[in-house]
Subunit: 256 residues, 8 copies
């Protein structure tokens, strides 16, 4: 809790410059403010607290719910990013809102104004195989939607090791490298040995049999012999992007 | 591969300022140089490539092997960090080298000169329960050994939610927050909602029964509903620290 | 076995006030009475034994079977609750019986008279995200069908921790809190630290990848660091409600 | 958050009857008060919030840490319960504190004054086999330590079904039944069909091979065909007891 | 190998009563005889060796393959049983062969003459719930097709324990009891305590969530606390029936 | 329930030939009789119900408990079989009782008189490798203790397929074959194709790595391509023997 | 890296016979050459390095991508093999390229010229059951496409052990045996005991219940008691073939 | 079965050149000959069938059993290799037999005469880390014991990718490469892209947490993106070596 804010408020009440009703109201509008809908408690204060607007996980939400959420959030922020939309929800949003941008056949959708590039530092999204591209697309979309500077390297799996080696010089200019890989998930181990910057590994469900829908690359990445690799959930391109944005953004506040 | 370096070398050979034998030797001493021991190919060039000296995983290595590795590495770098040492290996290293620092009963050991603080940006290591401390210690040791500025917050699990809330203001000054938790592993989800900086989650094997030696908090963290949380291996305090150091360090090279 | 009842019966037989045939018949109609259909042995005595009418698990039952079961049960009790109905079974029941109430698109269906509120004590059904609503609906339906007093709190996951904190005062008036959550399943740990009343956790299969169709929140809840949280099966909103009803109801009999 | 308390406090500040420094201090001593030790943030306000004193999970804590925690907590509450103590920690606590009670060879230890029976309503702890007794003991100890009225039924597994049937009349007087079972974990399903009161199932790691250290009975219990059975973690006798105590205790506060 | 047969054959060759070509032919027609098709090596000698005609696992076989297999086998035995047929294969077999009998919507199909009852000893097939019936049907079909005397008990799960208890007297006349159950899979443990004859447990994939498509009842049954329960694969009604038939049949040969 | 017995009893009460107290006493001594100890409800009536005396699972029972159980059971039956005894419990039983027989270094112990051979029909216990012998020993011990006629075949794994083939003639005289195998667990599939009698597969935890302590052979056996193979728990030699004894024994009662 | 080639190149640069620009170009066209497409970095140098042209994994690739890849690769090699094609991609390739050969309903497709038989040594592909044929087909297709001499043995599972025994003489002429089996996966253990040549085991997802989509045969094969059996991924007929081709091919280069 | 041999034998019997007793004896000494001990059926004919002498898996065998097996086998072959010996068994064998060679602290032991190098073709055993050496040692021991030409490459994990790249030229002279790796198990994928010869991957249990005792590298290797990699069991250095020997050895017999 923001005790400095509370202290200031108490002093104002003490001095009479703020009355009790107003103080209660201000307490309610602190960074924990919420606006209630019948089916969702939207976290409209999150941007103030964490630096990012709310991103909506579309799976399992009806078109009507998606439109309601979009309308409410657009009252607080210029853009809303939806991921994992059903085709119906995607179409409904496209119909309802004039300004948008779309990735991966509309599963990922940006309603409202696309931000300018607001972060310095290059983020490279590297994929092991062509089949990993949909996950990488979700990742790139999320990064662009938040104003990051993104580069992409495709189909550089370790079975042809020179493919990733030939990109070393380029990757060594990155602020963050996100590595998207299925099957053996070995690529982040190699990339982590080539660069010193943060490497975020995104396992994908590409593969079959003992890949177990992404479990194999997930375990590979958690056990990467290059140190300091971090991992997000299977197929979670969005999560990999958000982790990169946290790195680009820096501390919330200055230490005293 | 560092094609710029190769180009320069080729030009020197072409102009006659470098002869072939010397050029071959220089190629061999590029950032991929190694020094061979009978039982280990040490990666003495890794510091040049990734910014960090080699850290030695002590489990399964004999005291004699550890001492041999330490002697070789100290010829290339001022300090060597060992983790997961057996008691015998730890004692042998303590006997053989005059300058060292020790954590967690000698399991983690720093041979040589402890570096000065070389990174700006505070790293907080947050633990959910007292039983998670050994993993947090490995994490703190690794950070200090590499010159990071470390703070620690202890025993702030979510069952008494005000414990972590009362630290919010402090955590919002962090460059990175590392959250170490076993059992339900729920703490990173809460921390990730409170701060916008990178949150690295370290699951621990603390717990019993359906905690399955850390599987439960690992899965919780991979599914954290706060976005952008990244995860390392179970009990991998070292890995969490290395991930934080990658964030502190920045890009390897400037983009053109 | 109800030896007091048997003793009384034996005494009646001994005294001649009951004959053997009648005694055998009465033994058969003790709380273990059943009525046989060709495809189901209905437990029509269960209400007498456990306080609740039989609830029918609709998955895998044909429309004809559902109607047969409904007809038989309505001969013994005013209402029958069906869950997990196929669309065909649901439609058939709606056609066949004039009085009913429907939830979650007819998957949960109440045939017969809805009971009045018969239990004191508020039950709150709390959901972490909008996508958890179908499971919460099954839970609410079951509670209402049995005469409980139900309140609902929606979309208060821990990534925006103030959302659940702002409900603390309200939840502290509950007799039971049922918490429905997927993904990281962290919400029950927090709720369990805020209230002293029973907290029943219902994991949902919401999420993807390493959520493993509900395994991740299930494990989180079994390892909740707030003590005394209990757990039911994945997506088992019905089971959570029945557990709450057991709490509302109290002992079957008075101790001597 | 307790907004009524905050409102009162603000009014006191406004009226001048409380100064700012004092108000800040009072905010800090609200139900979220904590007392800091170097290795643990004790939740001394938890009893006020949840109705129970803190119970300390002893595994992985040193004797010195245990004694420190005990001393601090005894400054706030008459008794402290430790579970899963090492032999060394148990012996150290027995030496350091004159008043105590011990279960299961000292693994569970009560420091301070044992409370009188404070709850009405009988809790029965039922075990399937003799080998399940240590888990049942932890359960009984926790219940007695908090002032519950406990009965115990032993070795009534379903392979000799008449053993549990002969206890039906007795169990039907219970407020809560806790069923502790390993191997096939089938007992709670049967008990749940015999009584209408809450049934809490505690799986144990008794068994071998495909029992997988308690996974088999855990899954059995989560899938119990008797409705409304709830489950706690494997071997978690403490958790089963705490869940029962939540039921005995009732709501934290009266609804308006 | 049948060395007695070989010895007799050798003696016949030695005495000249059998020539080499004939001897080779007879060796080939020993119980290991096979008839080759391009896509299947049919084990037409199996009936001689094991007492049962070949039963064909229909999943993954095309209609054409099924018809080819049926034609070949009917040259060696009066009937062929197919299980797990696709709808197309089932229809093709029904069209191609005038005599047949069908169970579970044609998935199980008997081509040729249904045998008379050839085994003494009653086999009871007991199901826990109505939803387990398809698996029980496959079991009953296989038993009838091989000439067993079958009885069926339906919907007697342990949550209403009196349902199975009321069948005790009947089950105690069985030569074999096959118990088919999903969800908690607890019924075989109870039945195994009521009867002394062989109890074969068939787990089904009925249930949801932590039933994990039959894993939960499978583990329950493998850990049944009633001793001597045996288990077959999930949903394997056919396998349960074949195991019962092995019991009914007795030894292949008399010991000397 | 034995309604014929109850009917007779009721008629006796009705006629006055039995008084109420006596009738109650007789009801209590029906096949569901139990004798209570403080730590165990012994099922002394089980032999009457299922045909076998109680066998005691020794793991987790103290020497004192074992001796108490042995004394009580020997009041009801001539012999008691203990399995999985600790060394201490085994030694205590050997000291306390003059007549016994011991297998597998005392882990399996028979207290009292060894029965004569009471069952006709040979049971063969077949092991794949020498390392599987301890499990086979538990199996043989249990069979002998109950009066079965046992033969043993050792070290006939499928990698040298002629080893088992050379035993075919002998195995075809068996009433039951129990196959004990670890590693790939392939032996029961082959045996099941050679004989038509019941084949009970016992997976063992012999093997390493991906044998996962017996999971690999367990799954192999559940999926055996020879039909009608049944399976018991990993390392459960006792269970395999009890299953064979159920087959030898036949129905509990004659059908009308 | 091919240091001999580099040395030669350096000498040419030194002597002036090659200029720097040309040397850089030649370095780029070493065996690590790649040709970039927007969505794939094709490894056109792989044939030179490993002896085989690139085989394209079709799953998840669009028809357009497949055609683009085929066009590019056919510029470097006479034929391209696609596996796991969608129907749409298969049809598109069939339309676009006049010369091709097709297996398993077009899922596996060979574009370009089929090679002559280039390897000596027979490879036998052995299947346990008819249902395993699609996986065996992928295996055979890959072998033929690369010029191997292939034989096939079908439906020789171990439940009729004489079926595989009758093939022993033939299999003992093989250079490599590939064994494809689902369900219990026991066949490779038997084959490995019959022949001394390499045995490659391919588990299939044929089976149900506890076969867990191929996990059961996978584990069986990894634990095969015949020594020296190797295993590839579930359903990976392609992988089994490639492993055989590596054996047929021999070393890449002569040792000095 | 070797029908040609049988035919020849039959002809000899027919012609009178062999009598029946002798013919039976010769049948018994065909490649399926065995010599029986009380605890083991030794496969003394295996060398004739598969080309290798029996290797004894020492785990779970007593010193006395080991010595008995060694004595018997040495009557048939010049040397016996034991693996996974207990210290006691190892010491007993060392005492009992004058000629032997020992690896990995006596766990692997060769009794009798070490063979000369009998196979052409180099086998390289490559390890990712120093901690993988014990498994590699078992592998090397088995290869040398059978007369292979072995080379070893140590500590070349992919985090320092140049370490393995610098060995490329050497590895390309290999007939077989065996890659031993724990943790992420990524090394075989890279090696498989560098060489065209057979690559056998041996996962090790080196690592912790989510390495799950070798499951992580096992899955990685089964999903290796370099095609044609085969895998053996976790820690199975022996198995990897036997697979290589099968490759070195070639077909058992010439095809007609």
């Amino acid at each position: 809790m923001d005790t400095q804010l509370i202290k200031t408020l108490l002093e104002a009440v003490s001095s009479g410059s703020t009355d009790v009703a107003s103080a209660l109201e201000q307490l309610a509008s602190l960074p924990y403010a919420t606006e209630s809908l019948s089916y969702a408690t939207l976290d409209t204060g999150r941007k103030a607290r964490t630096g990012f607007a709310e991103v909506v996980y579309g799976a399992g939400k009806t078109p009507t719910q998606c439109i309601g959420i979009a309308e409410t959030l657009l009252g607080h922020q210029p853009a809303v990013l939806f991921t994992r939309l059903s085709d119906a929800s995607s179409a409904a949003l496209v119909d309802a809102f004039p300004v948008h941008r779309s990735w991966t056949d509309g599963k990922t959708l940006l309603i409202g104004e696309i931000p300018e590039q607001v972060f310095s530092g290059k983020v490279y999204v590297v994929t092991a195989g062509t089949s990993d591209l949909p996950v990488a697309d979700e990742c790139v979309a999320t990064l662009l939607a938040h104003g990051a500077d993104v580069g992409q390297v495709t189909d550089v799996g370790v079975a042809g090791i020179q493919r990733i080696l030939s990109k070393t010089e380029m990757l060594r200019t990155a602020r963050v490298v996100i590595v998207v890989a299925g099957m053996d998930g070995a690529l982040p181990s190699v990339v982590g040995g080539l660069v010193g910057c943060p490497v975020i590994a995104v396992p994908t469900s590409v593969g079959y049999g003992a890949a177990f829908s992404g479990v194999a690359p997930l375990l590979t990445m958690l056990n990467a012999c290059a140190s300091g690799i971090t991992v997000v959930n299977i197929d979670n391109g969005f999560g990999g992007a958000m982790a990169a944005l946290r790195i680009l953004r820096g501390p919330d506040a200055q230490a005293e």
